[in-house]
Symmetry: C3
Subunit: 468 residues, 3 copies
């Protein structure tokens, strides 16, 4: 059996499978539009070779190293840097062999789909990856990475990426984006405005961040009006580097719609970063509504990514720092939480708010009913742990009947694993085509409509929703 089944993720029954294949064939070559992700703009600015295979596939991929860690493999041995100054493995080949020995742990996970796809399609490797082939894979990939056609810009072109968005902090000077722009390269790499560092009073260094925001913008960030003006300026700066969206990663989906004096008073209480948890939460909620208000002027799409309890393990946080696979989803409410923002602006079709969830129970109960009513609200694609065949299938099954297809916004790869981008989009396209095929064979959708919807889900909706 080839490592990649040409009909993977399609329905098993012959008629549905043939139909899914037909739908997929009609859209598989469409360009990738990646409106939300975490690639490093420096890659495209400098266009230097990627380092060794371990640093490409293992060390930065928290899906991979968390699974190995969960089975007792120390993160240090996978080259994950210590935050506390302890030693970590630096020998790429040693890390790679350890990865190969434990690759079986990823059976049945989307990571194995993505990695097998990258091995086969990006690096042309046809054997199975296992301890016996590990060295050969390492050598081959190392050789490839040294060649010009595997540099970031070349891969960008080969991956058929029409546009990709990075995610940058509000204090970032966007120097790499500037360097890309100045380079004359035609690849479209845009930024996105992710202001958590100056919006979340519980963010590390919040007060200092406000001071830097003030310095960057020339606004007085010790006042509410100055602080808001600073956001307006930074958003404009990000827009000048192609941004079409802001993004907000909050513990909850809470929004608030305070009067201006109330909001100013709340800002005064939180601006030092020394406020109670309730005040911090209320302030984050108020800022979502402020961002929606600014959107009506500058057109940035508002993305809300709530519901992750970050850095669940204090021990791991102390040893390795943030983002080491210990962000755990929590039960999330949207009905009450989004109401203040939606009451203020939700019926304005000029606004575009995209809500994501890690709590799949909210899809049929809350998010599809909300998005199927409010013109401003759209449903973000399945996120994080749910960016997977079963997760994507559940997303469609739980949202389509109430919100339809046209209140969704296409796919986000949401990744920093550059080589996995074609694989991730391919999985999404296949799962959507499989779903559409099943609708047709069960008499719920006309076949020609399915072709149109496949195109819309792959290409048209993402460009429309993200204004790309």
């Amino acid at each position: 059996m080839p490592i990649l089944d040409a009909d993977r993720l399609f329905p098993t029954e012959a008629r549905s499978r043939a139909l899914a294949r037909g739908l997929y064939d009609s859209i598989k070559a469409l360009p990738i539009v990646s409106p939300h992700g975490h690639t490093d703009p420096r890659w495209f600015a400098e266009n230097l070779p990627f380092p060794d295979p371990a640093q490409l596939f293992v060390t930065p991929d928290h899906y991979v190293f968390r699974m190995l860690f969960s089975q007792g493999v120390p993160l240090e041995n996978l080259g994950v840097p210590r935050a506390d100054g302890g030693a970590a493995e630096t020998d790429g080949r040693k890390i790679w062999r350890l990865f190969a020995e434990n690759y079986y742990l990823l059976r049945g996970t989307p990571s194995s789909l993505w990695i097998d796809h990258a091995f086969a399609e990006v690096f042309g490797l046809r054997p199975r990856f296992d301890p016996h082939t590990a060295d050969a894979f390492y050598d081959h990939i190392s050789d490839c990475l040294a060649r010009p056609e595997f540099r970031p810009r070349a891969l960008f072109d080969r991956f058929n990426i029409e546009v990709i968005a990075t995610t940058d902090g509000p204090l970032d000077d966007l120097c790499w984006h500037r360097m890309i722009r100045d380079s004359g390269w035609q690849g479209r790499v845009v930024t996105a405005y992710r202001p958590d560092a100056v919006v979340d009073p519980e963010f590390s260094g919040f007060a200092e961040n406000l001071a830097r925001l003030g310095a960057l913008t020339g606004e007085d960030c010790s006042t509410w009006t100055g602080y808001l003006a600073a956001h307006v300026k930074r958003r404009a700066y990000f827009i000048s580097f192609g941004a079409t969206a802001s993004d907000h990663g909050h513990p909850t989906a809470r929004t608030e719609n305070l009067s201006a004096p109330e909001a100013a008073a709340l800002f005064d209480r939180v601006k030092t970063g020394r406020c109670c948890a309730e005040e911090a939460d209320a302030f984050r909620g108020q800022m979502l509504t402020e961002m929606a208000r600014m959107s009506l002027s500058d057109g940035l799409v508002l993305q809300i990514h709530p519901g992750s309890l970050r850095n669940h393990s204090g021990a791991m946080m102390a040893r390795f720092g943030r983002d080491k696979g210990f962000d755990i989803p929590t039960r999330t409410d949207y009905v009450q939480a989004l109401r203040p923002l939606l009451d203020a602006f939700g019926t304005d079709p000029r606004l575009s708010v995209i809500a994501f969830t890690l709590d799949e129970t909210t899809l049929s109960r809350e998010l599809a009913p909300l998005a199927g009513a409010y013109p401003a609200l759209k449903l973000g694609p399945p996120w994080w742990f749910h960016d997977s065949p079963e997760g994507m299938r559940r997303f469609r099954e739980n949202t389509t009947e109430t919100a339809g297809f046209y209140n969704t916004v296409g796919f986000n790869d949401d990744t920093r694993a550059f080589c996995s981008i074609p694989a991730r989009h391919d999985v999404a396209r296949r799962v959507d085509c499989a779903y559409l095929a099943d609708l047709v064979t069960s008499g719920r959708l006309a076949e020609d409509d399915a072709y149109e919807v496949a195109y819309d889900l792959t290409y048209r909706l993402v460009k429309k929703a993200y204004r790309l």
Copy 2:
């Protein structure tokens, strides 16, 4: 491809499909028993022609107009009347064309199944409905509606409705039901007792409603005992017009079982309608238990429809009023909430309580375990947003293994869209047969048992549970 696939909603695999078809063929011609819905008794009383196609299919159907609104179509343009006196479109053909232009938004939704079914089966229209055929559809349906065989009573007979229940308020004089009864027409149209207006202290005009209830019944509704006696009388009045059930639409499933003095004291606090939210909620909860107690005497089945946050958008409420697609489901508890009522009466097999949910997570976790234990409790069919192929399938998959088939109560169409009634029952019958076929082909149910269960789910259980 014909607009209606004869095998729609059946499994794709040949053996399961053939079996599902066989099951469906055995029950498809059974009469419709509709124990819970929102048709207007006036239709059957006056038997006047339905107005134009737009008023039949678009303007009153919140599933349809909420979806179009969510994509930026103003409700006024769909003829939805303004509560604030503003203008709304009245030209049926204009509304109809706008509907046709946006009909693609309903792809993949049950609304498109229902509407296509009504076009084909009720009006004999075989082409696809789209902007090119919109005018021809409008003309044809308009012509039909002018003919006697499309009047309400004729359609009632043609739809093979054995009995249908309307839902009426406690202050309703049931004049249309009286007119039906006096007309000599043999169609069985019964009422149901929906006392929210005099049970929910937060209902608009609650205090005035109590006064009217007192006037109607000759009871002193300023006292707890008089108030209860008034309910007993109104229930008897509704029973005289065929009612076999009461229905209760509360924000939560909360029940209470206070002592008589405590309940009387609570009534004294809420009877003005000026009470706190907690008191209102407790009172609604107490009244569910009171209704159960009355059921033991008069036999009305108790339906509980909890968990919708009504009129989520203040702006839409102000502009268009209630029931405009902005009722959003919320997380709902049943385990603690139903306990007081079940502790009081739950083991009494003479009582029939039917619980519905908009929170599908409760099906396998709470409702199936409760209904699989308490003799008085049955599971209502998938409701509202979940009255759909996926919703119905999830309902069976999440309840059957714990509650079995015999603690469920058949299907409710729950609709005011008269022409969709055959379509909705047809969807339910097909989905149930598909589920049963899959049980048989996977060795979980004997084939002859499946035929018996199909009959029970379609016809026997609803008549038994609703005492029709």
Copy 3:
């Protein structure tokens, strides 16, 4: 159609079905490893014949009698003993006939799969069980039970049980286990430490239980250190009878990690059993962390079974006592609840904590992300109402993509219905093979890997996780 379809629970489509059959054929004969259950060690100690068919299949099986009760059959008529001294049916044949008349109520439930399997495979009965065959079944099973090859030890061998764990209270002297050990019989029956009676301040007789624990161990259980020492001794005693695990059935998954002085102070407040609910809950939570700490020394695996509201019906509790089918699952949190324990010991790969859930929404949202990160945490198999084909399928679909297969621990039959043990393991094996087959046919898993995973899920993981 034979009563047991040889391909039951396999996918319907031919290619997947053939593959599932192949996988199943490769593992169906593996020995049963049953690390968690409720068989009575006395059966194996005394090896007396089981009593009549009704006492084997009906009276002790709460899955069966709760379903019949939910449809109005009095429990007394099924021979369920009254706690209040009232009369209950004792004529086995009468009970059996009532069971047969109502057997249709179990259609579509796992109970019917288990019972049909036991009838066919354990007792060789091929006809359908119904009122017409009831007497013949009764006579045949009665005859069998009188024969030596149907005694507990003979069935143990015939069922191919490699090892089975019972569940015993901390005050149990394990006399039956001693008798088994002293008998020279080679069957491996081990105990498990279930200390709820001396860990839960709300357990009936808690203060007296502490006193008995002190007497048994010679420790002063009026002090925190003495109480902990007593646990250490009892755990060692249980280990001497083969225990490899402890088990904890708490209302919530709450854990605490108090300092020693805080814990001692809390113990002083709860040790009388007269504490507030919050103190009781905190103490149970602290004891989970204490048990984890002891595990690091003595190696017992820690099982957590949270989220059941026990004895929901006060009326049934008064009439029939505990465990009569009225334990109802509730919404359960794991993210915050497990954090104190996981913060203390969760990254230690020497520890093995197995978490179960009755709230399936936590599988993809909380438990798979947690188990896919913490080395100490594993996912228990689908439990109780979810020990069913749909429940098992949902378990895999909701956990595999995030936690993989290797953070799961095989199957638990969790039963006191001895004759259902082969059936239950068979259902789990079939459902897992069906899931694996679908992964292969959809290109998500290599076929040879699927064979290896099937073996691991059936045999290797349970032995490893439970240290058997």
